[in-house]
Amino acid sequence: GAGVSQTPSNKVTEKGKYVELRCDPISGHTALYWYRQSLGQGPEFLIYFQGTGAADDSGLPNDRFFAVRPEGSVSTLKIQRTERGDSAVYLCASSFGRVGWGEQFFGPGTRLTVL
């Protein structure tokens, strides 16, 4: 079946602009995660959704970052007033979200470049 998809694959924007990054999880997966991978680093947790609600948003760096999942499937990560330091690959993952363990399946990521 289809895996996790993310669009766009690449996004170039100018400092101060607003961007939206989309994640389509695997059908039936109730849990969805966003991570950010900066150059030379491992992925860093941003936010976790169980269904429609953000159960843990402790990784969001500041209030310019916001994510939604209104129908419990597709999720959008929104970044306002982008800064050059926001340049990174943004990864999405989904899982069945069973209590305890549920393997996370990752999408290919969106590479965001802020000029």
Partner: protein, 115 residues
């Protein structure tokens, strides 16, 4: 809080030679441990995981890892590497608290297999 240390940023190895990629973790509670692989321009893929039970875990593509609680290590090994193993490998830890997997990744080790 949990953290992961990958001691080697790059590991060159000749084809058909054995390899070990080192990983140490810290956590105040029981942990789940993972190794992920990231091929160029692809998403993260789970190689193997330790949840409980046998400390030697086998994964895909001939990789295995051993959980050593006393040394807080989870080193990845393969007895004979192939060119196709050239990729970046990430060690990761999660304590599963809250009923979901908030995964903390290391910075990654780039495995370069030399023909």
């Amino acid at each position: 809080a949990q953290s992961v240390t990958q001691l080697d940023s790059q590991v060159p190895v000749f084809e058909e030679a054995p390899v070990e990629l080192r990983c140490n973790y810290s956590s105040s509670v029981s942990v789940y441990l993972f190794w992920y692989v990231q091929y160029p321009n692809q998403g993260l893929q789970l190689l193997l995981k330790y949840l409980s039970g046998s400390t030697l875990v086998k994964g895909i593509n001939g990789f295995e890892a051993e959980f050593n609680k006393s040394q807080t290590s989870f080193h990845l090994r393969k007895p004979s590497v192939h060119i196709s193993d050239t990729a970046e490998y990430f060690c990761a830890v999660s304590d599963g608290s809250g009923g979901y997997q908030k995964v903390t990744f290391g910075i990654g080790t780039k495995l370069q297999v030399i023909p």
